[in-house]
């Protein structure tokens, strides 16, 4: 029959100045539209609350004045806000401000460009130096490699020449007899004696 209400569905006046402790409103709860009227309520005639005309008039006047004032205040505030906004966009100061901002912007952009140029130049120099350094290093490495190769080649050549020289003394079929005779005539002795002072004695008895 009565339902508790609250929150946003309620008027502000009802929330702020409620008649009872709990905010209730009538709601079709137990009975539906088609149900017959209760016996206790058979001859009931609903009458609205009585109104005092004098009071009514006074209240009406006061209320109308009050509402007029409130509305006017509201309109005044709204107008102020709108005017401020309008002035900000298209007022006298607006153009000056816009110009100042643009100049500032241009100045800053110019500064930025300068800085960029400076950094660019420095960077170019730095990159060049690095490239040169790398190039020099590469050349050095190449040079070293070349030198190493040359050294190696020279050593090998020396060895080859040495071997060629030795090759003249090798035994061939023609030399063979001669060399055999030579060898048989000159027995070689590899034995020797050495003491702690490092004196070598080559003369040994060959049996």
């Amino acid at each position: 029959m009565f339902q508790v209400i609250g929150g946003r569905s309620v008027q502000a006046s009802r929330l702020l100045a409620p008649r009872s402790a709990v905010l209730v409103e009538a709601v079709r709860g137990r009975k539906s539209r088609t149900d017959p009227v209760a016996k206790s309520k058979e001859g009931r005639i609903k009458t609205p609350p009585p109104v005092d005309p004098v009071e009514m008039v006074v209240l009406k006047e006061r209320f109308s004045e009050y509402q007029l004032l409130m509305k006017s205040l509201r309109m005044a505030f709204k107008e102020e806000v709108l005017r401020k906004k309008y002035e900000e966009e298209t007022g006298s100061r607006a153009e000056e401000r816009a110009r100042e901002e643009e100049e500032e912007h241009r100045a800053l952009m110019a500064l930025n460009d300068q800085e960029n140029l400076r950094m660019l130049r420095l960077r170019i120099l730095r990159v060049q130096e690095q490239a040169e350094k790398a190039q020099r290093k590469k050349l050095k490495v190449l040079l070293k490699q070349e030198q190493g190769q040359q050294k190696f080649l020279k050593e090998k050549e020396k060895e080859i020449l040495q071997l060629q020289e030795d090759a003249k003394n090798f035994i061939t079929l023609e030399n063979l007899d001669q060399r055999i005779e030579e060898a048989l005539d000159n027995p070689k002795n590899y034995n020797f004696a050495i003491d702690k002072e490092g004196q070598v004695v080559k003369q040994t008895i060959l049996q």
């Binding site: 090798f170 035994i171 063979l176 007899d177 055999i180 000159n186």
Partner: protein
């Protein structure tokens, strides 16, 4: 090509026979594709112990050194051949290393690095 050394102990023979044996050996080497660098005679001496080979007992032998360059493939065949030769008492092929192994002090006077089998040095 690796460098080898053939240390050869031949039977104690007369000079012409020794020469013939040596000639035979060197020719065998050259047939098998070796390049003979040199031939050295270490003399005829008493063997450190009596060696029996080819049904003969030897107490004296003549030592020879042949150093040559050869491929490693021929060595087995060569050794087989030399073992079968009647005049050869003991053939030994050793590898010759050009580098002096580390741990040896620098020679004070002339020192020879040829590796002879230890039993040939002192007798």
């Amino acid at each position: 090509m690796p460098r080898y050394e053939l240390s050869l102990i031949l039977k104690a023979m007369q000079r012409p026979e020794t020469a013939a044996t040596l000639r035979r050996t060197v020719e065998t080497l050259m047939e098998r594709g070796a390049v003979v660098r040199g031939l050295e005679n270490l003399g005829e001496r008493l063997l450190p112990y009596k060696i029996t080979k080819h049904n003969q007992r030897h107490s004296r032998g003549s030592y020879f050194l042949v150093d040559f360059y050869a491929s490693p493939n021929i060595l087995t065949g060569l050794l087989n051949h030399l073992h079968r030769d009647v005049d050869v008492v003991r053939p030994t092929v050793l590898k010759k290393d050009d580098r002096v192994p580390s741990g040896f002090a620098a020679p004070i006077q002339e020192m020879h690095c040829v590796k002879l089998p230890s039993w040939t040095l002192f007798s």
